[in-house]
């Protein structure tokens, strides 16, 4: 809602009911979530979350 009032907004499971979103809202929320998730890029630069290399750090 853009009524000029600042609000804290969070993308928790409670706040984000994906099933109720329109397709456009889902994509917008998805893209926003991905942008927020980039904050951990430095921390997980060497990690693998999927596949048979899961859990390793090539730098070790």
């Amino acid at each position: 809602m853009d009524d000029g009032v600042l609000r804290d907004e969070f993308l928790s499971e409670d706040d984000l009911d994906l099933s109720s979103l329109s397709d456009a809202e889902l994509v917008a929320a998805w893209n926003h979530w991905l942008r927020l998730a980039q904050a951990s890029n430095d921390a997980d630069a060497g990690t693998y979350s999927h596949g048979v290399f899961c859990g390793i750090d090539p730098q070790e």
Binding site: L18, F53, G55
Partner: protein
């Protein structure tokens, strides 16, 4: 399932499947398509296990300026052995990672056949909820054999891991297509195509 565009993983899935169904979106991003949860910033796909699919995926990744991460070369000889291939590129302010396999854990040949049949029927190529639940089982007691299987792969990849820093230096600055040829040569004889009984 009707799925629009405007998201890097949806768009990439369409690029992978241009002209032919070659890649099925899986794991975390599939969970978003099914409106279950947003849980991962990386993309996973199940690929067709043939060289044309590998060549096309490599061409798409090259167009995005992707680079290889430690993993198996994107080559059916390793993929059919259960190995996974990994790449990464920047898209605007996003780090996009592609985790690619042809033999996802816990899905039978029949499951995979049904999945490809459905995807070729015009549905957006994404794993279904049942397959997704199977693939995502990793932390339950009954799945410890799977974790043991990953440990077998990591043991088999020990020498490849040790050589990776040198390989990475060798391919620095090359396109993923050029790097691919060098990585295949470097991996042959070092990273076994399939796990042996002793692995």
């Amino acid at each position: 399932m009707t799925v629009g565009g405007g998201n890097c993983y949806l768009d990439l899935t369409r690029e992978f499947n241009d002209g032919r169904v070659r890649a099925i979106l899986s794991s975390g991003q599939a969970a978003v398509v099914h409106r279950i949860a947003m849980m991962s910033k990386d993309g996973d796909w199940i690929l067709r296990e043939d060289q044309e699919a590998c060549r096309h995926i490599l061409a798409v990744l090259k167009a995005h300026g992707a680079r290889y991460r430690l993993g198996a070369p994107l080559d059916v000889r390793w993929l059919r052995g259960g190995w996974t291939s990994h790449a990464e590129f920047a898209l605007g302010d996003l780090r996009v990672r592609t985790d690619l396999c042809t033999r996802p854990p816990r899905l039978s040949e029949e499951d995979l056949g049904a999945l490809w049949h459905r995807s070729e029927g015009g549905d957006f190529p994404v794993v279904g909820l049942v397959e997704l639940a199977e693939i995502k089982k990793t932390r339950r007691e009954k799945d410890y054999p799977i974790i043991g299987e990953i440990a077998r792969y990591l043991r088999a990849a020990a020498l490849w891991r040790r050589r990776w820093t040198g390989v990475e230096a060798m391919i620095a600055g090359l396109s993923i297509r050029e790097a691919h040829e060098m990585i295949v040569k470097a991996a042959e004889g070092v990273l076994p195509f399939e796990l042996s009984e002793a692995s």
